[in-house]
């Protein structure tokens, strides 16, 4: 009953008109980011963080969460209509989604995808509600050593996000940690890597770095593409037939299971969830022979899995403070900017905010369906905006975003510098995901390590004498050593476009 009461209080807080507007705006902006090819969810969420810095913490996180799962649906629209995934997790939807468009069933495909996203997202959020209380109670048992051990597990995910080369992933991770160490050291108060510049004493702005590395470098690496003509489906064609509904239901159920399960495992991105869901459809669907030729199962399964994943991935973030994917790491950065530390202590220290955000996830998932299906014409019209206008407007947002963090031109220069760094890393095929992970987790890890060792007066056995931290450190080491133990990654993980 306690959980239900807390959730109801959360709904009361989330249903204020301001928070509803924030959720609505978040869904809207998230969908736009998802629709625009080239601006991925990581850059998109980072780009919009500055807009939310002046809001209260609840409203700001509600909006950023809505942006986060809005991108998951927005990417579908271009996959279905244009055969171009707006973001990596929707890539597999192009196969059957676009085939359905060619058959004149684009509207049905988009509606099924929206309903699937709603089902997957809502069930995954129910999972978050169920997990929040028991895992949140762990918060009372968490001191600096346990927190450090959680961060070890978080950083160990670098192995899962490594992509093809472990060497390059470690370079990216080390760079992220070094960037996060610029400024006054959190324990001793000594300046590090400030090169005598007062402006660097507070460190390099996280938002400017992320917007530069992920957003600006993406624009800098644009290549001239062909322009495409998009036709939005008419309103009448949006309704799937009864047969299509019947065929989608089992796929949605499988997609929910796969997306939810993978969302709980840090390091598994939405792309892996949708790829594995497509694989499951190929194996278990009654109409598996039609897959690839415009089968509705090929849309329903992956799209449900994708959104179930997006929402389930919030569970490790909210309850353990472990970001499961690069986008969630950026979201975690936004939490930290608002003075909220995601993890076990969130439910003890900021319980009201945490439950309001969870309630808003339900509302946001509903808004997404109500918003996206009827407005599909509007989303496709964004794609008709000429590229120079889009580029100029995105640059405008980046400059405003970087400037308004500290109301200083310095951060704009920081963004430009990191844009060039991001471009170089892309060219050298050094993955960007490990960098964002260590950028967010590094300072927390360092502080908790040093605080723990101050408690134990330099004795490292403090991490092994406490059962929770000992188990977590063992888990982290197991993940780090898994490549040596030949615990091979599934192919979907190695080929994951998000890493």
């Amino acid at each position: 009953m306690d959980t239900l009461n807390e959730l109801l209080n959360g709904f009361a807080a989330a249903l204020t008109w301001q928070n509803l507007i924030f959720a609505f705006l978040g869904c809207l902006l998230g969908t736009v980011i998802g629709v625009l090819p080239g601006i991925g969810p990581v850059a998109g969420v980072a780009l919009l963080i500055p807009l939310t810095l002046n809001m209260d913490p609840t409203g700001s996180i509600i909006m950023l969460c809505a942006i986060f799962y809005g991108t998951a649906y927005g990417g579908t629209i271009t996959s279905v209509l244009l055969n171009t995934p707006g973001e990596a997790a929707s890539a597999i939807t192009t196969i059957d989604g676009h085939a359905m468009t060619k058959m004149g069933k684009a509207g049905a495909a988009l509606t099924i995808a929206a309903i699937g996203s709603f089902v997957g997202g809502t069930i995954a959020t129910l999972g978050l509600v169920a997990a929040a209380k028991p895992l949140g109670e762990l918060g009372l048992l968490v001191g600096p050593p346990e927190f450090f051990a959680l961060m070890v597990v978080g950083i160990s995910l670098l192995v899962a996000l490594a992509g093809k080369s472990m060497v390059k992933a470690l370079i990216s991770g080390a760079l992220g940690l070094l960037i996060s160490m610029v400024g006054i050291d959190p324990v001793a108060g000594a300046p590090r890597f400030t090169f005598g510049m007062d402006r660097l004493l507070d460190g390099v702005s996280f938002v400017a770095v992320i917007v530069g590395v992920f957003g600006l470098s993406e624009i800098l690496s644009y290549r001239k593409g062909e322009s495409t003509v998009v036709h939005a489906p008419g309103f009448r064609s949006l309704l799937p037939t009864r047969n299509e509904w019947r065929r989608s239901a089992p796929s949605m159920a499988r997609g929910t299971g796969i997306g939810f399960g993978l969302g709980l495992i840090p390091g598994m991105t939405g792309s892996v969830a949708s790829l594995l869901s497509y694989g499951a459809e190929k194996k278990f669907s009654k109409h598996r022979n039609e897959l690839g030729k415009g089968a509705v199962e090929g849309v329903a399964g992956p799209e449900t899995a994708n959104n179930a994943h997006a929402n389930a991935a919030l569970i490790p973030l909210f309850t353990l403070g472990i970001p499961a994917s690069p986008t969630i790491a950026v979201l975690m950065g936004a939490f930290l900017q608002q003075g909220l530390t995601p993890g076990p202590t969130l439910f003890t220290e900021h319980s009201e905010i945490a439950w309001a955000i969870i309630a808003s996830l339900f509302i946001g998932n509903l808004l997404l369906v109500l918003l996206n299906v009827p407005l599909v014409g509007l989303w496709t019209s964004i794609l008709r905006v000429p590229a120079p206008i889009l580029t100029a407007l995105i640059l405008l947002f980046m400059v405003i975003g970087a400037y308004t963090i500290n109301f200083s031109v310095f951060d704009v220069f920081v963004m430009i510098g990191f844009g060039l760094l991001g471009l170089a890393l892309r060219h050298l095929e050094i993955p960007l995901a490990p960098m964002v992970l260590t950028l967010v987790l590094g300072p927390l890890m360092e502080r908790s390590l040093r605080e723990s060792l101050e408690i134990s007066q330099g004795d490292f056995s403090i991490f092994l004498n406490r059962p929770i931290s000992a188990v977590l450190i063992a888990l982290g080491l197991l993940i780090i050593c898994s490549p040596l133990l030949k615990l091979r990654k599934p192919k979907a993980l190695t080929d994951d476009p998000e890493t």
Binding site: L177, L178, A188, P386, L396, L428, E429, Q457
Partner: protein
């Protein structure tokens, strides 16, 4: 720009990347020793950076060995003209932001990207640039309570720029 896998030599840009990572690692290693690696209370401010410097230095060596054995491919080369145009215009914009104020400097920035680079029509370019500069200024200042900079030149400041 894509390196053919049959060529035995690593691409020049890859070698430059390896050198940069190695040099950064060496610099961090040396400077973190000066910060203090260990204090009576445990790790000092230099310990974490020292470890990262060691990782960077070691990885640059491993990467070089990998490249010498089997040269890797590099990502597609960027459009040099685009990179130059965007970066130089952004640097100029940032340099002029406090002097000319947000509205004027952003208007010029957007006009450059829309009219000169994007070859849009005058009307479309003017309207978009005005919305993105004057419109954004008022929306942020009065709508979101986020103050964007005004010009430090008195004459421009007087006329509201």
């Amino acid at each position: 720009m894509t390196q053919s896998p049959t060529r035995a030599r690593p691409a020049r840009s890859v070698l430059a990347g390896i050198a940069a990572v190695g040099a950064l690692g060496a610099y961090v290693l040396v400077s973190s020793v000066g910060l203090g690696l260990w204090t009576s209370l445990g790790p000092g401010p230099g310990l974490f950076p020292f470890a990262m410097g060691a990782v960077l230095a070691a990885m640059s060596v491993l990467w070089l060995l990998q490249e010498l054995k089997r040269p890797s491919t590099t990502g597609e080369g960027a459009d040099g003209g685009l990179v130059l145009a965007v970066v130089v215009s952004l640097v100029l914009l940032a340099a002029l932001l406090d002097l000319l104020g947000f509205q004027l400097s952003m208007f010029l920035f957007l006009m450059y990207h829309l009219k000169i680079r994007g070859k849009r029509g005058w009307l479309s370019a003017l309207l978009t640039a005005l919305a993105g500069s004057v419109g954004a200024f008022y929306a942020f200042n009065y709508g979101l309570n986020v103050a964007l900079p005004v010009s430090s030149i008195p004459v421009l400041n007087l006329i509201g720029l």
